[in-house]
Amino acid sequence: MAQNTNCETCPAHNIQNLKKLGIDMANFNYVIALAGNPNTGKSTVFNNLTGLRQHTGNWPGKTVSRAEGGFAYNDSRYKLVDLPGTYSLLSTSTDEQVARDFILFGQPDVTIIVVDATRLERNLNLVLQVLEITDRAVLCLNLMDEVRRYKLKIDVRALSRDLGIPVVPAEARQKVGMPELLNYVDQVAKGVYKCKAYRFKNLPANVENAVNKISAQLSESYPNIPNSRWVALRLLEGDQSIIDAVTSGDLGKIIQSEMGKEPILVQE
């Protein structure tokens, strides 16, 4: 039944298999994180997939803590976590820490990175930082309608090849691209699609050597560490929260327990 197989691989068919579960997140098989710059439509994607109605607004910084929801797709149950929008994962503001800690320690099965396609270069800064932490990511190239309005052209396939992850053009406000996004998320989560995430190429040699040295020691002390290279970079930069996590031995514990943690608040 050739026709049938075609249908089954067609995303338009598979959208029928999406079941929005709202806040029902019991017995999930996979955890999906939603990352991205502020105001790129993360919450809109979140709402589309979960059927929840997180407040959306056209201004950067609307989501400051995590929102969670669930959906089921192709017989798997997913927990979706909407992270605060950030420009980078390198500074120490509360919202960036929430996002960074979750991607690093929460070890989501897939991270969806939502970007504003009209400002690709700036958005890629965050994308590369996320890819430095996790391999398994899907890029949601949102606001493609704006791309047309700005008269830009984006080579989606080449971009996907360069980044080593699936890239999905989307217009989340119109629900365009959601079936394809789901399809890729499903494939990456189940290991059908194997990502080869881009890693920084232009690090100066002395930094690269130092990172390798530290990361070797880290992997020795923490065999299950999600990404020793990234932690090594942070230690090299002197990131106090990561230093504390390493010296206290908490890094191991955090790896276990970060999943249900409240956002960290700035103390006086």
Binding site: N37, L90, L152, E268
Partner: protein
């Protein structure tokens, strides 16, 4: 030395070897990679980067001369629509819930022989408090929030932040404070949480402390009602709507000024420091999705806020009924307090009723007006309007409300000072709790709580004294 300390030592040594430019070289390498990838995969057909419509609107709303006038005009338009639009549905809801439904409930209670005090507590206290909050709050919120959300959806808020940035910077605060302040116009507790977008702890605390100067939805109805009664009546009838809207805009803008002044004061005293730089992205204008916005603003904001108001109004209605009906030597607790605090109230251009109402309404600003009306009727014993002590009621029109307040000894001064005091007083208990949770500090929570109320008392005192000198 543990193996963990050893790792840190290695990192520290290596950092010394490389020098202090580790951070910069990492950032540089990321930016270089990002630029390369983007350059390779994006081609642009037009040389003008931004569509002309966006550029045109941006030039207009962020222009040096027109930026602020446009902002005030938009604000005034929103309030005018709210004031004009809410009047009729408000009185309709009131006549339905209070004039029609309340007597039905009362006679039902009588027919099943409910004890007078259960009947009073449930129907005259709790039910009426809830009914009042619904009829006075639902219509303005159902108009105000969707319009505000449409502006937000369109992309106007970041432009406001852009306009305000320079002012906040001069006040030693963070430019993004304009965004947390905008959230405060909806709800101060939400505004306090929104201050998380500010990186520097110093500026974040300033934003949290000053958020209360943004009038929240619980206070808009008070402002709108009092402005309609006392400011609207000062001008000919056909201008009343504009005058009232203007007065509300004035109070709102005065709140913004206060938040700048207090930010400046804090950054020069207990929270010394320079304003930090940040980049603010002006998102493209997006055509608002009207139906969806109506839906989400109704569910997220209107119903959510209304629900909260009802939850707080029900116990408050009980308290009001109790203080009006528990008597010591034949005089109710409420009357004891009112006659005791009245001299202080008058000194401030307010009265004892308003002071008591603000104490009862600490959990929620929304119930200030119903409490005031009920207490006024009770203490000035206007018969034939209220239905016995402890009954919160709604009056069919703004005029009837005005009659009660004027009979209760209210003047234009009382109205003006109530508007000012409603702007400058302690945050509601939810906001206070949120501030404590966000700062983790009793000190800043106390400051945020008592600073505005001290300012309100001082301001009302001076306004009252000057008013009396001139009158």
């Amino acid at each position: 030395m543990t193996k963990f300390d050893k790792i840190i030592n290695t990192a520290n040594e290596l950092r010394w070897e490389i020098g202090d430019n580790v951070h910069d070289s990492i950032i540089e390498s990321i930016y270089a990679d990002a630029a390369k990838i983007a350059d390779k995969n994006v081609t642009s057909e037009n040389r003008e980067q931004v569509p002309t419509f966006d550029r045109f609107v941006d030039r207009l709303v962020t222009s040096k001369w027109l930026g602020f006038p446009i902002m005030f005009a938009l604000l005034a338009l929103v309030f005018w629509l709210t004031i004009e639009g809410a009047n009729y549905p408000s009185s309709m809801l009131a006549s339905l819930l209070i004039d029609s439904f309340h007597p039905v409930l009362k006679s039902l209670a009588a027919s099943i022989g409910l004890a007078w005090w259960i009947d009073g507590l449930l129907l005259d206290g709790m039910y009426l408090a809830m009914a009042w909050v619904i009829s006075v709050m639902l219509p303005p919120m159902a108009i105000f929030f969707p319009i505000f959300t449409l502006l937000e959806d369109f992309g106007y808020l970041p432009r406001v932040a852009f306009n305000m940035d320079n002012l906040f910077k001069r006040a030693g605060a963070h430019g993004k404070q304009a965004l947390s302040m905008s959230m405060g116009f909806g709800c101060n507790a939400a505004g306090v949480i929104a201050a998380r977008i500010i990186d520097s702890p110093r500026e974040r605390i300033i934003a949290i402390i000053t958020n209360n100067f943004a009038l929240c939805n619980g206070r808009w109805p008070t402002q709108i009602l009092i402005a309609s009664i006392f400011i609207g009546s000062l001008v000919p009838a056909h201008l009343a709507g504009f005058a009232s809207a203007g007065a509300v805009v004035f109070v709102a803008v005065f709140g913004i000024v206060m938040s700048l002044v207090v930010s400046w004061g804090l950054s020069k005293s207990v929270l010394k420091g320079e304003a930090s730089a940040f980049s603010l992205e002006l998102p493209p204008y997006r055509p608002p999705r009207i139906l969806r916005t109506l839906y989400t603003s109704l569910i997220d904001r209107t119903i959510f806020v209304l629900w909260r108001a009802i939850v707080f109004a029900i116990p408050a209605g009980m308290v009001i009924w109790l203080v009006s009906n528990i008597t010591i030597s034949d005089i109710s607790l409420a009357e004891h307090f009112i006659s005791w605090s009245n001299p202080l109230g008058l000194l401030l251009g307010l009265n004892g009723v308003i002071l008591l109402a603000y104490i009862i309404a600490i959990p929620a600003n929304e119930i200030v007006i119903p409490t005031i009306l009920m207490l006024t009727v009770m203490s000035s014993e206007i018969f034939g309007i209220g239905r016995g002590s402890g009954v919160m009621f709604e009056l069919d029109s703004v005029n009837a409300t005005a009659d009660i307040l004027i009979a209760g000894g209210w003047t234009t001064l009382t109205g003006i000072n109530l508007m000012l005091f409603s702007l400058l007083h302690n945050p509601c208990s939810t906001t206070i709790y949120t501030i404590y949770k966000e700062t983790g500090s009793l000190k800043w929570t106390m400051l945020s709580t008592f600073l505005p109320i001290v300012m309100g008392i001082v301001l009302c005192f001076f306004v009252a004294q000057i008013w009396m000198l001139l009158a």
